[in-house]
């Protein structure tokens, strides 16, 4: 089974990558940002109290002792305590993960489902108006900062039209979340049979997901277009036409599957970023996800939280590319027989 073997080998590779990332973060955070004891100590504190706090934060030991302790804790699955929340970082992360995943999934699915067909339309109408239109729109989608698109959408749909709610997070202020099951509000509300809350959650999700979708759509459509254009000029497409296949069959069955490989790579990269916490997007929409958590950890020199987040994000990145390679094998038989 070459596929299973490849997956195993790649999973094994995560270990050195994770170790490298942890080490860099550990030392970079401490060396660069210095001692954060002051941040967590009242200014009028005595030196004794200050030392106590420092001890409690685990900052009193020499650096390499802290590092060894952190690694051994990590091996036992303990991510350490967040200075800010006072909770275990593992718990903090799994608390915030569903918010990030929910937004990321909905936004990406929208972006891919819209982007791929747009790219195909542009490619088969190459150098005609649909092509120019798609290229123009996607150029804008790539050239604009995501946070600006988000703000403009808020201005249009919330401030001006009033169709959608403002950027206050996953539920309107004052609405209690449904009983926690999966952490995905859309699923939890549906399971609880709470149609009203489902609607509220969906409306809150609409704008951030649209923003994310638009910024995903642009590169997806462009890459789809480029690789479709190339595949359309290939010998095998000429054969398919010569054998009498119709245009739609040629485009969507014979061509698209060949053209999908670069798109899959792109989506893998996007997924790595999106699920790693779209920091800016979450901060604009008050979305309580991992990106906000990471931002806060940086601002407050919350070492354990920062390290935990970086481990999670880099693992996710590696896994996303593993998924890409597995998909490659499923799409392209040439990858299966090296």
């Amino acid at each position: 089974m070459p596929l299973a073997l490849m997956i195993l080998r790649r999973l094994f590779w995560i270990i050195p990558v994770a170790l490298g990332v942890v080490t860099i973060t550990f030392f970079a955070a401490r060396v660069f940002t210095g001692d954060p004891t002051e941040l967590y100590t009242p200014p009028e504190a005595t030196d004794e109290l200050r030392a106590q706090i420092r001890e409690r934060l685990g900052l009193a030991d020499p650096l390499w002792v802290q590092y060894g302790k952190y690694l051994s804790d990590l091996l036992r699955g303990d991510f350490g305590m967040s200075f800010t929340t006072g909770l275990n970082v593992g718990a903090d992360l799994s608390d915030r993960l569903p918010a990030t995943l929910e937004l990321g999934l909905v936004g990406m699915v929208f972006g891919v489902l819209a982007g791929v067909p747009l790219g195909v339309i542009a490619a088969v109408n190459r150098e005609r108006w649909p092509d120019f239109l798609v290229r123009g729109v996607t150029l804008g989608g790539m050239a604009l900062p995501q946070f600006w698109i988000g703000l403009v959408l808020i201005w249009i749909f919330f401030v001006t039209l009033g169709w959608l709610p403002g950027p206050v997070g996953r539920l309107p202020i004052g609405v209690n979340p449904p009983p926690l099951l999966t952490g995905f509000l859309l699923i939890d509300t549906a399971l609880a049979g709470d149609g009203e809350k489902f609607r509220l959650a969906l409306r809150q999700l609409a704008l951030p997901a649209l923003t994310l979708g638009l910024t995903t759509l642009a590169p997806v459509a462009r890459v789809t277009r480029a690789s479709m254009v190339e595949a359309l000029q290939s010998d095998y497409i000429r054969t398919a036409i010569a054998m009498g296949h119709g245009r739609r069959v040629v485009w969507f069955r014979y061509c698209l599957r060949n053209a999908l490989l670069p798109v899959v790579t792109l989506i893998g990269g996007v997924a790595g970023h999106v699920f790693g916490g779209a920091v800016l997007l979450e901060s604009i929409f008050g979305w309580p996800g991992l990106g906000q958590y990471a931002l806060q950890a940086i601002e407050r020199s919350d070492f354990a939280a920062l390290q935990g987040f970086v481990i999670y994000a880099s693992l996710l990145y590696v896994l996303a590319f593993l998924a890409v390679d597995v998909l490659y094998m499923l799409i392209d038989p040439r990858m299966r027989t090296p």
Partner: protein, 266 residues
Amino acid sequence: MSDVLLSVENFSGAFRAADGRLTPVLHDVNFALRTGAITAVVGETGSGKSLTALSILGIQPATFVRTSGRILFEGRDLLTLGATALRAIRGRRISMVFQDARAAMNPVFTVGQQLAEVFRLQHGGSRDAAMAKAIDALRRVSIPEPERRARQYPHEFSGGMAQRAMIAMAALICRPTLLILDEPTTGLDVTIQSEIMELIVELGRSAGLTACLITHDLGVVAETCDAVVVMNAGRVVETGTAEAIFTAPQHAYTRKLLAASLLVPA
């Protein structure tokens, strides 16, 4: 002549550059393919022979435009047909074997799938029946273990095997009236080349196929073809029976070509 299946008449064409300028590449090409015969169109790289062949099926490069002439197939001008009418002819009536069959087959579908899908497109029927036909076609072009081979992808085929599969698709699955072969043996080993040519001749004879063989290899032509069209720089310089061309070439270019192929002393 009543037994002419397809005729190319005064066909001229040019490539259109991005700025709209035309560069003429085909000049008044004239030749006819007779029913049941194997006609060779011979010429070196760039003589316009492939371009003419692709134009018959309307799959020429997008930048190529016809400037005059027509291509008559059973009394209809192929160059003026609409998309639907052209599709009804492609594969069913006129089919084509391409150079470099490994690249001409879709890399992400099995060879069997590709043959079966063409069969269903042209003759209908169930998936299973079509796959059975595909395997049968592979067997008839002497591909060993056709059941296993049908489940393989083009990249798992050797060049010669892929060309056999391509011929199975174009000749046996499509069952066309006219089969065009565009440099079918280029890039293959010499021994494989002759095997492929034997296969083509055999299929042509047994199925009563009219074939048009595009090639630059005169050696191939001498043994297999009935008639020969010699092209050079976008023009037809000489046409005639194979015997006439080989024994008494009229045009200087034909003689040069013959000399270069080392078959006949100049």
